[in-house]
């Protein structure tokens, strides 16, 4: 929580003095910030946020002037996810007249508010530039042509994004934004946006699997690898579970664009390492299972992954004995060097040789361990201690591994977010989160529509509003009303975030979009945010299957029959 608040204060360029003076809680927060920064300085450490602030300070200083003098053009991509501090850095880089600063972004795809992104930087780009550089001219170029999706999908996403009244609030979107225009399609009238419905998620899942199988059988698709299932979360026991279970039960291969930490080889190596250092798991903090059940499960899963393989289990025990009995063994080994050796164990190296995803996962783990060794351990060694006349791995050292390393891995705090695992060269359907799908595209996309039908503001929404009156970059604003600057009140922004998230998901589809919708989502009032604003609007926009009220019964003809009857074959793209 502290890191979230700290990053918000720095990223939003908050005037600390005024902020601290405004309430006792904020005074305390600023004291903590000062202590944190002092600790970083003392250890010669920095963090990403602080580095950016220091970069801005340098660029604005006398020493920094020569650095920007030679810069003629500054181009920034994905500007919708930028924050006020980064925006100030870009302006500092473009400080030399005529201030050639070009930013590219799509405000409708701003889904990184939780990481400090502020879509208003893009929406208010022209205002901010004009304020920074009096008299400067800001040209807006609308990139409306889209080459990705079938025209009917483009119509759907255009309609979806504008149907929500929260998206029409001032500063929620770029002013007078033109709708996307699709390329011509050889088959424009094809029904390619479908709601796959059912009374319960299990029934929707069953119908969805039937559609997929038929698409393959009828040769509409060549391979399940053309399809992707997107959801807000793809973790076990979350909303995507019924669909993943149904796919697996029906023998449709799926591959998870999951994070590396969930790859078997990652868990095998980490599990072997943990057993080698803490043979019986005695040092697993007692409160793990109470405070964080999923973390306890993860640790257990890793250990079991190693225990289940006789080679790895034997290796873990050998390493343990060796570390405790050979002089200097612990001193010359680190987590990284040990893990590199475990990677060479037959089950791991074979997995890596056969599967690129496994190779990337192992690579991610080793890099993570290297960072831990260097930054947390600040060197390379394994700490030992004496206990009842026997050597053992030091308890404090091992507990730190569980609390910092394993917890960091499990919460994905130690992975670089942009890393995308290579799509597998198989017939498997991809399963991935919407956040991970950003920037990707698939011929067939199925989206697990989120069940929320109203805004649930989170810490990020509240924080950005709380700090807004103290933002230095808004000092020129006569009336920096939070709701106006940020594009709406907390609830409206929470709705906007969900709308944008669904927009990103829907716009991944090239040829066919399937919305997975239990009936309750449409029946609730208002319906789920991912379905627009009212059920009638939704039914006008998307086909439904199975139909609620069967008005007509079309005769079923398969593709073979169609071919025999001379029906023309079309390729969507």
């Amino acid at each position: 929580m502290f890191v979230t608040m700290y990053e918000r204060l720095i990223n939003d360029r908050v005037d600390r003095v005024r902020f601290a003076d405004s309430s006792p809680a904020f005074t305390l927060l600023i004291q903590l910030v000062d202590e944190y920064e002092a600790a970083l300085r003392d250890h010669h450490f920095t963090d990403q946020t602080l580095m950016q602030q220091q970069a801005l300070e340098i660029l604005g200083s006398q020493e920094g002037r020569p650095l920007v003098q030679g810069i003629q053009y500054v181009i920034v991509d994905e500007y919708q996810d930028t924050n006020p501090l980064q925006a100030a850095i870009y302006r500092a880089l473009a400080a030399m007249p005529p201030h050639n600063l070009c930013v590219v972004g799509d405000d409708d795809q701003a889904v990184h508010r939780f990481r400090g992104g502020t879509v208003s930087c893009l929406v208010r780009f022209a205002d901010e530039c004009k304020q920074a550089w009096l008299g400067c001219e800001v040209k807006t170029v609308s990139l409306t042509e889209t080459y990705r999706s079938h025209p009917a999908i483009v119509d759907w996403i255009n309609g979806y994004i504008t149907t929500h009244p929260q998206m029409s609030l001032p500063n929620a979107r770029v002013r007078e934004k033109a709708p996307l225009r699709a390329q011509l399609s050889p088959h424009p009238a094809a029904p390619v946006v479908w709601a796959i419905r059912g009374k319960k998620p299990q029934e929707v899942a069953s119908n969805f699997v039937e559609v997929l199988r038929t698409l393959k059988e009828q040769e509409v698709i060549e391979s399940y690898a053309q399809c992707a299932l997107l959801a807000y979360s793809v973790k076990p026991r979350h909303e995507a579970s019924p669909y993943i279970n149904a796919l697996q039960e029906q023998g449709i291969p799926v591959t998870f664009f999951s994070s590396s930490k969930d790859q078997p080889v990652y868990q095998q190596i980490l599990g072997t390492l943990l057993i080698a250092l803490d043979r019986s798991g005695n040092f697993i903090p007692a409160n793990f299972a109470v405070n964080n059940a999923s973390l306890a499960r993860y640790v257990d899963g890793c250990r079991q992954a190693a225990q289940a393989d006789p080679v790895l289990f034997a290796m873990a025990r050998q390493i343990n004995t060796w570390l405790l009995t050979h002089e200097d063994a612990a001193r010359q080994m680190s987590l990284t060097t040990l893990a590199l050796r475990i990677l060479n164990a037959q089950p791991c190296i074979e997995a890596i040789q056969q599967d690129k995803t496994a190779e990337m996962a192992a690579h991610t783990l080793i890099q993570t361990l290297d960072s831990y060794d260097r930054i947390v351990e600040h060197g390379y060694r394994i700490a030992l201690e004496e206990s009842q006349g026997k050597k053992r791995v030091a308890k404090w050292w091992m507990e730190r591994i569980y609390r910092i390393l394993v917890e960091g891995v499990q919460n994905e705090q130690l992975e670089r977010g942009e890393e995308t695992l290579a799509p597998p060269p198989t017939d498997a359907m991809s399963v991935l989160t919407i956040h991970r799908a950003k920037g990707l595209e698939f011929p067939v996309v199925a989206v697990v529509v989120d069940e929320r039908n109203c805004g649930h503001p989170g810490a990020a929404h509240r924080l950005e509003q709380d700090v807004l009156p103290f933002r230095q970059d808004l000092a020129f604003e006569k009336d920096p009303t939070p709701t106006l600057i940020l594009g709406g009140d907390e609830e409206a922004r929470a709705v906007q975030d969900l709308v944008r998230l669904h927009y990103v998901a829907y716009s991944r589809a090239q040829s066919l979009l399937l919305l997975l919708v239990p009936d309750g989502l449409l029946k609730s009032s208002p319906p789920a945010i991912g379905l627009g604003t009212d059920a009638a609007w939704f039914r006008q926009q998307a086909e439904e299957w199975p139909p609620r009220q069967q008005k007509t019964r079309k005769s079923r003809r398969d593709a073979t029959a169609a071919k025999e009857e001379g029906v023309e074959q079309h390729e969507l793209w």
């Binding site: 094809a190 698409l215 053309q226 063994a329 040789q353 060794d373 086909e543 398969d558 029906v567």
Partner: protein, 324 residues
């Protein structure tokens, strides 16, 4: 709108076929050093190419410190040119200061510290290099750590962006033709003539020279390797030892050979890729220094090193890596 039929039947009925279009958004990229590794040992290149896994052994760290110190000193030289004193050349004190700054930064990054002997060796190399070369060298440096890249459109298997980074580019002597020289610093000693290491280094320089020509349309007049450890003797040399600089003659006629070599390596890589087989060459054909620093050596059918905890396993004694 609603239809009684499964949407798949409806689409099939309309004769719709969804086909994947494979778009190439980015050209395939290959670093010169990775191609050289590929040529020596496909297994090392595939599983352990540079940057894939951290190699933070003290000898590897020493190489990085050496390069970084020279780069920083060049930065200070440029700053002096702008802000004065204009005749500033790194002296012994500046070299030691900068070396300390770089070592401190590495320590703060948690990189392993050098052993005292390595630390002394690093200082000797840097000090002697600057005592012998700095006065004439720095004023002629055009750029340090120069990135070179060239898109080879006709590469076997499709266009490939070839990339390399040469340590320093400088102008030749005032009285000779105003040609360009490329140098690459190597932390080690001059390898034996005819050794696989030296052949790899020669190939590396030919590739850099080739990329330089493609980028700047100019043939480098001199292309050379500087073996820093030749300067690290107990009695520091006062002039450049003959074995320190190894010239790699390069002419425009080499283009054909370079392209043929590149084509062969890329073809070899594609064949490995197609079979998913990255077998190492037979024992003895790979420089020992590459094997000793390879992260997949314990499972290598050629190298066959037991794990530290197995019978016959020995303490880690990392050699200086093949400094590509």
């Amino acid at each position: 709108m609603s239809f009684g039929d499964n949407p798949a039947f409806l689409l099939a009925e309309q004769g719709i076929r969804i086909r994947t279009t494979h778009r190439v958004d980015q050209h395939s990229r290959r670093a010169v050093t990775d191609l050289i590794t590929m040529n020596i040992c496909p297994r090392n290149a595939h599983f352990f190419s540079e940057g894939r896994y951290p190699t933070n052994t003290p000898p590897a760290v020493m190489g990085r410190l050496l390069h970084r110190t020279i780069k920083n000193l060049h930065g200070r030289y440029l700053a002096a040119q702008r802000q004065g004193p204009a005749d500033w050349i790194p002296d012994e004190q500046a070299v030691l200061e900068e070396c300390q700054v770089v070592e401190e930064a590495a320590r703060m990054q948690g990189l392993p510290q050098l052993f005292p002997e390595q630390h002394a060796q690093l200082q000797r190399m840097l000090h002697t290099f600057h005592a012998i070369e700095a006065r004439w060298f720095y004023p002629r440096i055009q750029a340090a750590e120069v990135s070179l890249s060239w898109l080879w459109e006709e590469a076997p298997g499709g266009p490939v962006l070839l990339e390399g980074k040469v340590d320093v580019v400088f102008t030749q002597g005032e009285n000779s033709l105003p040609g360009i020289a490329l140098w690459d610093y190597k932390t080690g000693k001059h390898p034996q003539v005819g050794s696989p290491e030296l052949r790899s280094y020669q190939q590396q320089m030919k590739l850099y020279a080739f990329l330089y020509r493609q980028c700047f349309k100019q043939i480098p007049q001199e292309t050379a390797l500087y073996f820093m450890q030749e300067l690290a003797g107990k009695i520091p040399p006062t002039e450049r030892p003959s074995r320190a600089l190894y010239q790699v003659p390069v002419t425009a006629d080499d283009d054909e050979d370079v392209l043929e070599w590149l084509g062969d390596v890329l073809t070899k890589e594609r064949e490995c890729e197609e079979r998913n087989q990255w077998d190492p060459p037979p024992p003895g054909e790979v420089p020992q220094r590459m094997c000793q620093n390879c992260g997949v050596r314990w499972s290598c059918p050629s190298f066959k090193e037991p794990f530290n905890w197995e019978q016959g396993g020995k303490q880690d004694d990392p050699l200086e890596p093949l400094d590509l």
